[in-house]
Amino acid sequence: MMTVERANRLARVGQVITMVALAGLVGVYVRALEYTPVERMQGLAQKIFYLHVPAAWATFLAFGIAGFLSVLYLWLKDRRIDLVAEASAEVGVALSIILLTTGPIWGKPIWGTWWTWDARLTSTLFLFLLFVGYLLLRGAVTDPVQRARFSAVIGVMGLALIPFIHMTVYLFRTLHPDPIILKPSAPSLPGAMLVTLLASFGVFTLLYAGLVTQRYALGALRELRLEREAHAAG
């Protein structure tokens, strides 16, 4: 297990990464507002795209990693894996709040409605609620080994559920714009916009890395304190 010094050092590394990411976020926004052309149909409302889409990417990265680590934990039973999964899930919940608030702000002027029960919106909402449940479950279990096993089970189940939610709503009906970057043909975004978007992807990935590093260090410190207290008491 980790020492207090190492955990503190890791927390500082995480802080530095987060600071760099936040500075990058300012940069992305300056670029998006000043140096990227205004979209012809949507006007200024489209600017939120440089925040919304990268936030979506980081959210799915965070939950994907949490789910993947859940599988890995059930296999290897390493406490550190559980702590990273916890950190990733918590950061994912924070990022999905950005995602779920920027979406409606764009949706109102463009779609004419704050919310619609489209496949991607619904899956994201369920994913968010599932991981809120995941974090609540973690809070309700006191034994660390039991907590790790229980939350890993929910992580795996949640990961398997999302495609089904997506399919369900897809069979129901769909409205969300089609993908414009990750699709079979070449990206249909003008060069300047693509550069801004890709820069924002990088910034959000960095932000995710910084926050998870910090949260993991905090989780490790909490475990160390509990161990010390149990040692002193026992």
Partner: protein, 226 residues
């Protein structure tokens, strides 16, 4: 009978016997189902929306909630005086514990659905009585995997603080695909449409059943303490 199957049947029979002697969970789930059906009947403007139009939704919401009432019970009874330890020490494989609990839960829920379905037809004055057996089959298909997830999650939340609350929160997302599919299929069937029209939804339920029956049984041993 092979040992595995014997274990499954013994555990299911034990659970159902306990339930039969008290009947608390079954009667409360049933009364709850009727209450929900009644409340939903009045949660509409009768001049705009007919009872027929909301019947499929009412039916599935009712079953969903009633099912969740039953799920907490299966492992709740094992918590008293550490009965679960006794179950774990008994010479049945862990997988048999899962399937036994699943079978007990399934029969419990199927019992509620079996009574709830004609009651809903009666209360909502639905026309398609001849379609009732077909609807019952769809209900059962949608229930199998959902009960498996409920058994898995219930095994964890029964030993967790605020377990009843967490069970509902963690279980409802898993209810979404089978319940939505169920509503769509039931609505079409009641209108007398052919089954081919709901092939997509039936496939979705089938895939959901396969994936979650397998996953829940595989993950179950991880919820038990060593």
């Amino acid at each position: 009978m092979p040992d595995f199957l014997r274990g499954v049947v013994l555990i299911a029979a034990k659970d159902l016997r306990i339930e039969w002697r008290t009947r608390t969970a079954f009667v409360s789930a049933l009364a709850f189902a009727v209450l929900v059906l009644a409340v939903i009947f009045f949660s509409r403007d009768p001049t705009l929306v007919s009872a027929n139009a909301i019947a499929p939704g009412a039916l599935w919401v009712t079953f969903a909630f009633a099912t969740m009432l039953g799920m907490h019970r299966a492992f709740g009874v094992e918590r008293d005086r550490h009965a679960l330890d006794g179950l774990l020490l008994s010479p049945v494989p862990r997988e048999a514990i899962f399937w036994g609990k699943w079978l007990g839960n399934l029969l419990f829920v199927a019992g509620i659905e079996l009574i709830g379905l004609p009651v809903a037809f009666l209360f909502y004055d639905l026309p398609g009585w001849s379609r009732l057996p077909l609807v019952a089959v769809v209900v059962l298909l949608a229930t199998v995997a959902f009960v498996a997830v409920g058994t898995l999650v219930g095994a964890m939340t029964a030993r967790t603080r605020h377990g009843e609350l967490l069970l509902v929160l963690l279980l409802l997302p898993f209810l979404f695909p089978p319940a939505v599919a169920g509503v769509q299929i039931t609505a079409r069937l009641l209108e007398g449409r052919p089954l081919s029209e709901v092939a997509g939804w039936l496939k979705l339920i089938a895939a959901f059943d396969i994936v979650f029956l397998a996953l829940a049984s595989l993950l179950f041993p991880a919820t038990l303490d060593e």
